[in-house]
């Protein structure tokens, strides 16, 4: 089974987030970058599926040359080839990014299963995977927490209400997955070496601009009082239980 995972480079923000002066983006000058956990699980799953079925596990991102850092990280986790779609106009808009991925999938050799995260860690539009599936007229299931390859099909498990639902989709198919699908492995030294050398195939795309335009970002107003320090170590226990009684959780 040939699997492709779409991943996005996102800033690894700390406890405080700074914005650019025009407030249209996160100020990333002092930040590292990473992959979202949903996408890490997708990469892990692709590597496992490829190993189980004797197939391949590719990774693809839409972004500038700097995003190859995340492609290489995915290769160090177990992906075996990498594609970067250079689409300067896409700029994070979900319609444009989906169009760029769709164009790339039409140009690349066919994949049986294309995996997405359920939502990107920064923008969280929760739609790029479904849009790509729509454009390619492929079956899609989101919120997936279990993947089982079948004969010409794939079974996709998701949580639904207070239960679980299992769908069967004919291949080629698309799934948007959630963290918890598996426990991703840490990159090995061998993986890191491979990642350094792996060639990144670059495709160009010029999707039309999307229709959701960021005007500005701002911090959510938070109304929190000063922290009351109840004490240090075990000696704080009576003061802790006093507030728990006041809060009504200890009777």
């Amino acid at each position: 089974m040939d699997v492709l995972v779409c991943v996005k480079r996102v800033p690894a923000v700390g406890a405080e987030i700074l914005l650019t002066p025009d407030a249209t983006a996160i100020d990333t000058r002092h930040l590292g970058f990473t992959l979202g956990p949903h996408e890490e699980c997708a990469v892990e799953e692709a590597a496992r599926l490829a190993a189980r079925t004797g197939g391949s596990a590719g990774v693809l991102t839409v972004g500038g040359p700097e995003t190859e850092e995340q492609l290489r990280y995915a290769v160090s986790m177990g992906a075996d080839h990498a594609v970067r779609v250079d689409a300067p106009g896409a700029d994070g808009d979900p319609e444009a990014v989906a169009a760029a991925i769709t164009d790339a999938l039409r140009a690349l050799p066919p994949y049986d299963l294309v995996l997405f995260g359920a939502a990107s860690a920064d923008a969280g539009h929760a739609q790029v995977g479904v849009r790509v599936a729509h454009a390619l007229r492929r079956p899609v299931v989101g919120g997936v927490k279990g993947i089982e390859p079948g004969d010409g099909s794939v079974s996709l498990r998701r949580e639904a209400g207070d239960g679980v639902a299992v769908y069967e989709a004919p291949l080629p198919a698309v799934a948007a997955v959630l963290e918890g699908l598996n426990l991703p492995r840490y990159p090995t030294i061998k993986g890191r070496l491979r990642a350094k050398k792996v060639p990144v195939r670059v495709l160009d795309a010029a999707p039309p601009a999307g229709n959701l335009r960021t005007r500005r970002l701002r911090h959510r107003p938070e109304a929190r009082a000063e922290t009351v320090v109840l004490g240090r170590g075990a000696a704080a226990a009576p003061a802790v239980v006093d507030v728990l009684v006041d809060a009504g959780v200890v009777r």
Binding site: V13, G14, A15, G36, E95, A98, A121, G124, A126, Q127, V130, R131, A133, H134, A135, R138, P139, V140, V141, G142, G143, A160, G161, G163, A165, Y167, E168, A169, L178, G180, L183, P184, N211, L212, R213, T214, R215, R216, L217, R218, H219, R220, A225, T227, V229, L230, G231, R232, A234, A236, A237, P238, V240, V241, V243, L244, V245, A247, V249, V250
Partner: protein
Amino acid sequence: MVLAVITRDGDGALSVASAELLAAARGLADELGDPVEAVAVGAAGDLPDDLAKRGVGRLHLLAHPLLDDPAPAVVGEALAQLVAARRPAAVLAADADADAAEAMAWAAAEVGAPLATACTAIRPGPRGRDEPWVVTRERSGGILLEDAELTAPVRFATLRPGGHSTGETAAAAEVTVEVLVPELDAAVPRARLVERGGRAAGTTLATAPVVVAGGRGVGSAEGYAVLEELAGLLGGVVGCSRVATNNGWRPHADQVGLTGTRISPDLYVACGISGATQHWVGCMGARAILAVNTDPEAPMVTRATWAVIGDVHEVLPAVVAEVRRRSGR
């Protein structure tokens, strides 16, 4: 017209998320001077009564053999056909309704329209349909808000929970039910449901009144025993940070945060958790937070209601003993 995509809970009643959605749809429709209409999949059941009490005068039902237990995207196909036929000013669904939200993404793609997800506010321009609307949506799990322009003849948006009452409003005299049988080509490849199962009942992380969560500071899988004990005494459940999940100490179902569960318990006890943004967005809705941490400068400590500075494994056993002493258990 403002179209609300509604769903039902297990026993066929309007879901809580949908009740809240209808209140938000009413607010937007009043601003536009438009009516609210609702759309659901399947038979009418008790929906017309529920909708009448909320002032919704028209219910569209999507009916087709392929819509018996459909994958959400298939509902999206049908929804797109209703939208094409009725041209609503806006189509709204609740973010919390995962199926409806997924159907929205498909329908928006089919209609060729943008979709704004995780919205907390929608403000139509003064000239209604003919100019961009401004939406406010959550980013990075809700720690940031984004004001964005949504330009399209039909505005698709999903709404975050909170801020709207789920109660009944002005009643509609009667509810007109219209059935749409969408054209769905059976030859198109689609996902189909093959199995549905229940999950073990019991208090869940999402709904527990008290959550006692542990992070790297707990140190090991065994270290959670004392958290389990305290959670049991307080009528709560155990949660964790992503470090605990990644270390294999706890299952992912326990993870609080951006890519885990977002919770709003009465009390959140954060033990050995630093309070990274991606964790914080999962627990910032808690009514009160007690942080137990060796580091007085940890963000979780400085944002908590109460804090104890110290080692989890010294503080928690003492708290457990004190709770037992006072409650005679």
